[in-house]
């Protein structure tokens, strides 16, 4: 195994920056699509089950079970069903994102105080109106936090997606791992790993901004 060589790494980046950027773009895209799907499904499920004890524990527990399956195993298990490439990665990431999103949606909707629920009802709002106009906006910061946790989770797991031919920085990491001993093996692995970390930090910052601009001024601390 060759030792670390900074100038080598910089040269590697200069030579391959097009590849690196397109892999970062792919990585971001697959995470974004998975989060969008998971948010739609997760918030939808949350809205349906928040007030049903059986449905609620069923939804939260099954989402939690999915999260305990090692990512490599889950992705591999999907090859027979969906083949290689984007599809299994996308589905895997969506499944992993569901737990924080469903759980935070349920918690957020249930956190609205009885006094507010009663005054909404007393003013003549139907239960669906209360849910969409009072509870959902009030739960929104909690739900966005759930999506944010899911984002951190999936940016890491997406790297494993390369194992099933998925897109993103994982391809560099796996390429580096499979060519150990060669000149650029460490550079490949290091670039992929650093890319994932930097991406995670940027996305987290992005969520701070998203939370700020999608939350009512009246709810901000």
């Amino acid at each position: 195994m060759t030792g670390f060589d900074l100038s080598g790494l910089l040269a590697f980046w200069a030579k391959r920056h097009d590849d690196i950027l397109s892999l970062i773009g792919e990585h971001l895209l697959v995470v974004a699509i998975a989060l969008l799907l998971a948010t739609i499904v997760g918030v939808g499920v949350g809205l349906l089950v928040w007030n049903r004890p059986v449905g609620r524990s069923l939804a939260v527990t099954s989402a939690a079970v999915v999260l305990t399956i090692p990512s490599l195993a889950l992705l591999a298990a999907m090859i027979p069903l969906f083949g290689l490439g984007w599809t299994p990665t996308l589905i895997g990431l969506t499944l992993y994102s569901l737990l924080p999103i469903i759980r935070n949606t349920v918690v957020g909707l249930r956190e609205v105080s009885p006094a507010i629920m009663e005054s909404a009802k007393g003013m003549g709002m139907s239960p669906p109106t209360v849910l969409l106009r009072i509870q959902l906006p009030m739960a929104w910061p909690v739900i966005v936090t759930g999506v944010r946790v899911a984002a951190q989770l999936t940016i890491g797991i997406a790297a494993i997606g390369a194992y099933v031919g998925g897109p993103g920085l994982g391809q560099m990491i796996f390429q580096g791992l499979s060519s150990l001993g060669s000149k650029n093996a460490l550079n490949f692995a290091l670039t992929g790993t650093l890319g994932v970390i930097v991406l995670a930090l940027i996305v987290d910052g992005l969520f701070t901004i998203i939370t700020k601009y999608t939350t009512s001024k009246g709810l901000r601390a």
């Binding site: 006094a115 009663e118 005054s119 009802k121 007393g122 003013m123 003549g124 009030m138 009512s216 009246g218």
Partner: protein
Amino acid sequence: MTDATTDTGSNRMLGGTATEKTIHTTTSITTVRNTSGAHIELRDVNKVYADQSVAAVENFSMNVEPGELIMFVGPSGCGKTTTMKMINRIIEPTSGTITIDGRDVLSLNPNELRRHIGYVIQQIGLFPHMSIAENIAVVPKLLGWSKEKTRNRVDELLSVVQLDPREFADRYPKQLSGGQQQRVGVARALAADPPVMLMDEPFGATDPITREKLQLEFLRLQESIGKTIIFVTHDFDEAVRLGDRIAVLSEKSKIEQFDTPENILASPANAYVASFIGRGAALKRLGLITVGDAELGRASDARGDASVDEGDSLRDALDLLMLTGLPAIAVTATGGRTVASISVAQVSAALGAGAAALDAPAAGERS
């Protein structure tokens, strides 16, 4: 007491077609004591919770005239809040009938019904994610009012509850003090000019000074809007200060006495009511009688510089008499001119005369 606006109020209970009708009644807020209120009748109303063997409310019957401010007073857990909440069906009665202007509440769509009943609770329950203007606009929005009409109404109501619309409309609830939030709560309940208001200890969570201020403001407001109001409280002094009539309730929402504050203070129906009034009933009654209503002495009898206005209460007059130790003090009319004098004996006489005069109707009205 009954005039055309009462009909308007009742028509709005129908819902859908009624929104147009509210346009001209919104102006009623500036007129003097109209009764935009509705008649409420509860007959043999019962509430038994499924998991309890004892009824929470048992055979409750009451007639409330349009524009009356009725106080429900009783200890916690006596069922007063439950009784009130059955009127807008936050709690469904087990049996009995409740009518508002002759219309059976239980036959109406509950959401439609609630849009025409103002509702204020102790915790206020302002929606934190909505601005003050948006909070007040909730019911008008549900009723499909135009944007302009809603905005005008919001500004009007904020002025009514003494909050400057330019300053407060775009603020959020957390930026307001408790007293200001409570005013917004009242404004929000009044938004669609409902004929009936239900208020559950609305001033209970505020400090004594703010509470008294809110009570006085509220009395002045009710003077001009004349809603039919059911007001729940456990504070007997608040009931005396605000109520047209007070219902003193015991376990299972049993009505121990239902009468004017004067009559209840002068002749409590039983030991339970007497214990609820507590000590100082005579002093509390003095607070309800104005100096002008008492038999006064000649202006020349007045001693010292101290004086009370004709509009002040006898309690104020007595307070001053005690403080100064004078045999009689001056009574002034508007403008400060001394027109008469008042002594302790005259204060005391007013109490006796008041009690005698009020005794007659009291017997008939008691439920």
